[in-house]
């Protein structure tokens, strides 16, 4: 076991410099290195997905379909959706921040199954290569939802390779979830009881339940689509007695809980950030933990709200509409509790906290508009319009991506050993917030006015709002590029990070920045509650960048 060994030039041995060479990274079983491998790959796919988004917004600058043909436009929004959902949104927080932090937060040396962790990354990469192949070969144009019989009978595009890519990435997700569940049950340090776990860990536990129980249904559905396409079966083909809605039921059984896979880890991040920058315990710890589990479980009961106008029976629609209202309750509990945590707290406005503020507001808007969609009468009016597009971008981008950025900024000192430049961080956060709202708020209006989604042309009266949206997308893009630049800059020129730059609670803030390979020199024994901010001194100096 390495104690704090002093290597040349006074640089302490840590997980980054412990071993060198490509093989030591590609064959690593260190959860922290695997997290970085994921960080690089996920960022790559984020920009691929973002590139498609930019092309979509460019086309929508003008009412006529003049930049690309309609078939090409179909490919753009399909590849944007599939890349973003399966190769960014689903894995990002768990595979990067979850992987890096969970063992340290619970006082363990690694996850329960380090080799399976590495396998998860390789499966992600294989899926990613298959998706890249699909893109380069001409893409699929089914929409990210693969609806049948369009995807099984009527398209000549690369549906099967896209499906295989998603299947493989799904397997990666299942194994990550499995790893986290076993780790949380079996690897906690003495004294780290369930009631002392950081909410970040609870959030990933709840997420992992969804990953393990939901993703396999997507997997078998994709297998059936591939089989149907290859052998002309008829499972989803009405001409042969099949029902397209069976596909939709099976697809959405996973894909609705999938959105909770995306948001729950983000909520875990926000709990950590809000507590730290209010210097207060979380308000209602038990309620917050139960709300996470509640979202995970109730999230499995609502999937057919994506199918209200698809042809399900009215009775099913009524049931699913009612259940969908229930799922909003635990989310609302969390928003109230974050707010209550901040009340009479000692608020600091560092970059992670700015993103957290953004999250709470934008996620609330996204969530409330979800309730619009849960109402059958309203849904008939706004389904398949830009209202839906705006709703899910508010929760996925305004929620999850913002939370991800909050987390990356918050834990960057721990991961890299460097501080990022705070001024630039604040600027980027502002650009993201402004750019995001400018991009997506007009889309609520557009949808309500009747502009349908997935069309490359639209009536001229919608142009002004579309131009605003595209302008916002440009600002948002700058907001996303800035952190790329300054994080890379900070690796070389950033101020070396102290052990606990934020004065935060949690075991990860007791190990060096960056941590040694095996995290702890001695196994910690936990005798304190989570978020014990009354016992933790404020940081001596609030670190600022150069």
């Amino acid at each position: 076991m390495a104690t704090a060994a002093v290597v040349e030039q006074g640089e302490r041995e840590n997980y980054l410099n412990a071993t060198y060479g490509l093989k030591s990274w590609l064959l690593t079983v260190d959860h922290k290195r695997i997290a970085l491998l994921y960080l690089i790959s996920i960022t790559f796919f984020f920009f691929i997905g973002g590139f498609f988004a930019l092309l979509i917004r460019l086309e929508l600058l003008t009412p006529a379909g003049d930049l690309v043909q309609s078939d090409t436009y179909n490919k753009l929004f399909t590849m944007h959706g599939q890349v973003m959902v399966f190769f960014f949104l689903i894995p990002a927080v768990p595979a990067v921040l979850g992987n890096f932090l969970i063992p340290i937060m619970i006082g363990a040396k690694d996850l329960a199954f380090p080799r399976i962790n590495l396998l998860s990354w390789y499966l992600y990469i294989i899926g990613g290569i298959l998706m890249l192949y699909t893109i380069l070969a001409g893409g699929a144009d089914t929409g990210w939802t693969f609806y049948t019989p369009l995807s099984t009978e009527f398209l000549n595009t690369h549906v099967i390779t896209a499906a295989l890519a998603v299947f493989t990435a799904g397997f990666s997700s299942i194994l990550t979830g499995l790893n986290f569940i076993v780790t949380t049950h079996r690897m906690r340090a003495p004294g780290m009881t369930w009631n002392r776990l950081p909410l970040f860990v609870w959030a990933h536990y709840a997420t992992s339940l969804i990953q393990v129980l939901g993703t396999p249904v997507l997997a078998i559905t994709i297998v059936l689509v591939a089989l149907e396409r290859l052998f002309h079966l008829g499972i989803f083909n009405p001409a042969l007695g099949g029902d397209p809605l069976l596909f939709q039921h099976l697809f959405w059984f996973y894909s609705h809980p999938a959105v909770y896979i995306m948001i729950l880890p983000g909520m875990g991040i926000i709990s950590e950030v809000v507590c730290c920058f209010s210097r207060k315990r979380i308000f209602g710890y038990k309620a917050m933990a139960l709300a996470l589990l509640g979202i995970a479980v109730v999230g499995f009961l609502v999937w057919a709200h994506h199918m209200f106008v698809a042809g399900i029976s009215l009775y099913a629609a009524l049931i699913f509409s009612l259940l969908t209202y229930f799922v909003g309750v635990p989310s609302a509990v969390k928003v109230f509790n974050w707010t209550a945590t901040m009340y009479k707290g000692s608020i600091r406005y560092d970059t992670p906290m700015l993103y957290a503020f953004g999250f709470i507001g934008l996620f609330t808007m996204g969530g409330l508009t979800g309730l619009f969609l849960a109402s059958l009468g309203l849904d008939v009016h706004v389904t398949d319009t830009y209202f839906v597009v705006a709703h899910f971008h508010y929760v996925m981008v305004g929620g999850m991506v913002v939370a991800y950025l909050a987390g990356i900024h918050f834990w960057w000192p721990k991961i890299s050993g460097r501080m990022y430049p705070e001024g630039w961080g604040k600027l980027a956060a502002l650009l993201v917030f402004v750019g995001f709202n400018l991009t997506f708020f007009p889309q609520f209006v557009l949808g309500y006015l009747g502009m349908p989604r997935r069309y490359h042309a639209y009536p001229p009266e919608f142009q002004v709002l579309n131009v605003l949206s595209t302008a916002g997308a440009t600002v948002l893009a700058v907001g996303y590029l800035l952190p790329m630049v300054y994080f890379l800059w900070s690796l070389r020129y950033g101020k070396p990070a102290p052990v606990n730059p934020w004065g935060a609670a949690g075991l990860e803030w007791q190990v060096p920045s960056p941590p040694p390979t095996f995290n702890f020199d001695e196994q910690p024994v936990v005798t304190w509650e989570a978020y014990n901010y009354d016992e933790i001194p404020e940081p001596e100096e609030v670190p600022v960048g150069q």
């Binding site: 299942i174 076993v182 049950h185 003495p190 396999p216 249904v217 078998i220 297998v223 007695g241 095996f518």
Partner: protein
């Protein structure tokens, strides 16, 4: 629900080469592996569950046609296969027992017995698939189904719906067979390692967990058998 395990990290020399570095004790490692396998089986339940859902829907809608289709599948090979799998579950139990009692040769024997039974299952399955091929019941271009509805000599079954049954038949039994093949391969590897003496009463976790996998595949078949072979046989 406090399951934390105490460990001493510094200066710990492991005399058991099977103990991985990030676990404190063999017990913790074993518990982790076991929970991991059970969670994997849980996701397998959901994986096959999608197929059962599809089957449930279409059986509900096309019961008569499904009965007609099911009648063309001979019961005997299916019943024999069910017995074969039940026997193989017994051999797995005996293999785990042999490992627990440190009996290397018995362990290898029972693992090989399981493999033989698994291969027998696959062989009978292949024969059944061949029968379907000959009868033109494989979905696709050459599919043809000309049968009456059971107990209704004047009414023909809908061939599209019958094809639906066979699509699900091949998807479900095919997926099951794929899992059997993986299981047979896994047990082959285990038998080889067992022969080399890797498993003792101190460490037999892979045997136990592979056994869980095998029993699960058996349970899937326990449900497939009546659903596929025994619809409406009394007519």
């Amino acid at each position: 629900m406090d399951n934390s395990q105490v460990a001493v990290i510094e200066g710990h020399t492991h005399d058991n080469p099977a103990l991985l570095h990030h676990f404190a004790t063999e017990g913790q490692q074993k518990n982790a592996a076991s929970l991991g396998m059970w969670l994997f089986l849980a996701q397998e339940v959901m994986f096959f569950g999608g197929l059962f859902c599809a089957y449930l829907v279409y059986r509900h809608w096309y019961y008569g046609d499904f009965s007609a289709a099911s009648e063309t599948i001979a019961i005997l090979p299916g019943a024999i296969n069910t017995a074969v799998l039940i026997c193989s579950s017994l051999t797995v139990v005996l293999a785990v027992r042999a490992a627990q009692l440190n009996k290397r040769l018995q362990l290898v024997f029972w693992l090989l017995a399981t493999i033989v039974l698994g291969l027998a299952f696959l062989g009978i399955k292949a024969f059944e698939y061949y029968e379907k091929f000959v009868e033109h019941h494989i979905p696709g271009v050459n599919f043809s189904f000309i049968e009456h509805l059971p107990n209704q000599p004047g009414v023909m079954a809908n061939p599209h719906h019958a094809e639906m049954f066979f699509s699900l038949y091949f998807a479900m039994t095919g997926m099951h067979a794929l899992h059997m093949i993986i299981g047979v391969g896994l047990f082959g590897f285990l038998a080889f390692e067992a022969w080399r003496g890797k498993y003792t009463s101190e460490y037999y976790t892979p045997i136990e967990n592979s056994g869980l996998y095998w029993h699960f595949v058996d349970i899937i078949w326990i449900y497939l058998f009546p659903l596929i072979y025994l619809i409406d046989r009394h007519r």
